[in-house]
């Protein structure tokens, strides 16, 4: 049972958001086959907040009109995750369940991530929460957050005398 790290472009020096957000992104990697082990380690792992590689990878983009937050979370159903907005914080919660109800299964390899996640992303500008929309396609969640009127970029005309 190996957890293969996928190569990610993660630059710790380029993070406009607070490092604390990452620390509070919780994750319980339920990647085990036998039940006993699961019961023993699961509570420990759930309370261990320093698993940086755990929660879904997130991209944040911005243009004049909106902020787009994208999360990579393959293989989930619509009712397995939720998106909430709390002031300027976007909360992404969910759980990808490991289908271990199949007792006759002979598992060879588990590399995909399973478990619970709770990711908080501080948004860089104020947004119009009531106009936010989200789309889940090909395992990628796209959240579009229109910027509030005051946060939009405006060109200032310069009068040269």
């Amino acid at each position: 049972m190996t957890r293969v790290p996928v190569v990610r472009n993660r630059n710790p020096w380029y993070e406009p958001f607070d490092l604390m957000n990452r620390l509070f992104s919780r994750w319980s990697p339920v990647q085990r086959q036998d039940k006993e082990e699961d019961d023993f380690f699961a509570p420990l792992l759930r309370d261990f907040p320093f698993d940086f590689g755990g929660s879904p990878a997130v991209d944040v983009e911005e243009n004049d009109q909106e902020i787009v937050v994208r999360a990579e979370m393959p293989g989930m159903e619509k009712d397995e995750f939720s998106i909430e907005l709390e002031d300027d914080t976007l909360i992404l919660r969910g759980e990808k369940k490991y289908q271990d109800e199949h007792k006759d299964r002979n598992v060879h390899r588990v590399e995909c991530r399973y478990g619970r996640f709770d990711r908080r992303i501080t948004l860089p500008t104020s947004i119009q929460a009531d106009k936010a929309s989200a789309e889940y396609k090909n395992g990628v969640l796209n959240i579009t957050l229109p910027k509030s009127e005051t946060a939009r970029r405006k060109a200032i005309a310069v009068h040269v005398k």
Binding site: V6, V7, D59, E61, E62, I67, G75, V107
Partner: protein, 133 residues
């Protein structure tokens, strides 16, 4: 079946590799789950962002190759990036017990599931044991 369902990406063992010289595309080996049930082997690969039409799966000389591509949907300037839309490529060596002609594939929510049925001769057969006192 167990021992042979291994990635063929190890050093010196690569049978075919993607051409990297003229393409700027980057390849990532997707994480997979492999399990065996009901006389079939299931390979589930996480390919987030991959377009359905871009996925190709082929078997040649006992090597299963899966490839997929994803398009970038950038709408503005990147402020924070932990992942990018990449191409996927991974190979597995199959044992002879897989019935290559009957492999099927499903793609749903970024997960590609390959069903590799076992060949007739590799299926487990129950043998009734008669115990005579």
């Amino acid at each position: 079946m167990v021992e042979k369902t291994v990635p063929t990406q190890q050093e010196g063992q690569v049978r075919q590799s993607t051409e990297t010289t003229r393409s700027e595309a980057r390849y990532v080996a997707p994480p997979v789950d492999i399990y065996e049930e009901n006389n079939r082997l299931v390979v589930a690969a996480d390919l987030p962002g991959a377009e359905k039409d871009s996925i190709t799966v082929d078997v040649k000389d006992g090597v299963l190759t899966l490839q997929a591509a994803s398009k970038s949907h950038a709408v503005g300037n990147s402020m924070y990036a932990e992942f990018e839309f990449v191409n996927y490529y991974r190979q597995f060596e199959l044992s002879e017990t897989v019935d290559v002609d009957k492999i099927t594939a499903d793609y749903k929510h970024g997960v590609l599931q390959l069903n590799l049925p076992k060949a007739e001769r590799a299926k487990t057969k129950k043998i009734a044991v008669n115990i005579t006192p």
